[in-house]
Amino acid sequence: MGLLSRISSRSPWLYRINAGSCNGCDVELATTALIPRFDVERLGCQYCGSPRHADIVLITGPLTVRVKDKVLRLFEEIPDPKVTVAVGICPISGGVFRGSYSICGPVSKYIPIDVDVPGCPPRPQAIIEGIAKAIEVWKERL
């Protein structure tokens, strides 16, 4: 790995996709795990509003039928190299919605998932550890 990619690996930008989540994991992502209560910013992370700026994708929710196409399209728009983190039990297995007629998850059927962070919702510490692992994966792809 060259010097430039070593430097770049310290600036992973995070992008959140809500694939029909109940908002529990999103609240954990937006208000505790990251800024302002706990701190992933010290890993160099920052939230970006645009999929084009993203390096690490955080997916929450069980991938409902209605959002499936939009999530897949959004995922296509994120430039490589990207790393995907499934936050919460819903994107991993469907969680309490498993077997429902209105979901087509788990997300890994359609999108390659690199790191799983189970929980309902996961603890902030777990999310931060998941992101730290995702950075390790991302380093290898740079």
Binding site: E41, G44, G49, H53, P79
Partner: protein, 318 residues
């Protein structure tokens, strides 16, 4: 040194160019670090803005199919160049005095409007609806803060001109010189309404939190910057870093330029810059929420405009 060469150096290396870019990135790093400390976090390393730039430089630039390609790619370049020129116009008291050939306060005022215009053009050239929303918000904001800043500039120029026995002077060098001999405008009660108007202009021009609606990521997904990626986004980040230094340094020049000459002057200037950046940018942005665009528009036509008019009137009358 021949004059064209020294002019070129002042735009490319010091005080503009490399120097102001490094300073701007360092200020952004301090800003993020101090904001984190205020929220009882550790915060990113001080070099984080520079690290982000290195990463962005290596990523691919993506141009949307619906975008107007030349305008889309040229807009950030225009913004960065305008800001570097503006940085060469602002004196560092006791250290650097801009050549009158480069321009005066009026030229600087026009250059300060360029980043806003560039964001508007970039937003509309990207073809994204969020860019269009960003365009309209940026335009409303500019309509709000441009009138007070014109009045502020005129008030300072009039005060200096009257003090010198002339009518009005727009030369930044003379404004700095006048204050260094007659005392800073910061301690002159007649200038206080003008100072208040300027302090409202500062966050709006820098696009930080109470007035960051054009780029609000939670509302319009970073508006004009939505479609930019890689090096072009990096250029926008450079523009914003240099713009921070220029606007803060302008504030120092207009109201408190007193400093010893030489290296000590540079140190005093840097300390002032740091204090102003922390108090006027960081503390402000972590302690308030974003205003709604229509409220901000009304706000600018109410308070800063009133202060600017009162300030100008007192300068004219006294």
């Amino acid at each position: 040194m021949s004059e064209p060469l020294s002019l070129l150096l002042s735009v490319v290396i010091f005080p503009s160019g490399l120097f102001v870019l490094a300073l701007g990135l360092a200020l952004k790093g301090v800003d993020r670090r101090v904001a984190a400390r205020l929220q009882r976090r550790v915060g990113p390393p001080l070099l984080q803005p520079a690290i982000d730039l290195v990463k962005l430089a290596q990523k691919r630039t993506f141009v949307p199919d619906v975008a107007c390609r030349p305008v889309f790619l040229a807009a950030p370049l225009v913004g960065v160049v305008a800001m570097l020129l503006a940085a060469a116009l602002v004196p560092i008291p006791g250290v650097y005095e801009p050549d009158p050939v480069l321009g005066d306060l009026l030229v600087l005022f026009y250059l300060l409007a360029v980043p806003g215009v560039v964001l508007m053009i970039a937003g509309s050239a990207s073809g994204s609806p969020f860019g269009a929303v960003g365009f309209s918000r940026e335009m409303m904001l500019m309509l709000g803060y441009e009138i007070p800043i014109v009045l502020v500039i005129v008030a300072v120029a009039l005060r200096t001109g009257q003090g010198q026995g002339a009518v009005i002077t727009f030369s930044l060098g003379e404004i700095v010189q006048y204050q260094r001999t007659h005392g800073a405008f910061l301690f002159d009660p007649i200038m206080w309404p003008t100072l208040l108007a300027f302090s409202a202009f500062l966050p709006a021009n820098l696009g930080i939190i109470p007035f960051d609606m054009p780029e609000a990521e939670t509302e319009v997904l970073e508006g004009p910057l939505l479609e930019y990626s890689g090096p072009t986004l990096g250029l926008f980040r450079m523009m914003s870093a240099v713009r921070t230094v220029v606007v803060l340094a302008l504030g120092i020049c207009l109201f408190f330029p007193n400093a010893p000459a030489g290296i000590a002057g540079l140190a005093v200037w840097a300390v002032k810059l740091l204090v102003l950046a922390t108090a006027g940018v960081t503390v402000l942005r972590v302690s308030v929420g974003r205003k709604r665009i229509d409220r901000a528009f009304i706000y600018f036509f109410r308070w800063p405009l009133a202060f600017a008019v009162v300030g100008l009137a007192t300068v004219v009358i006294v």
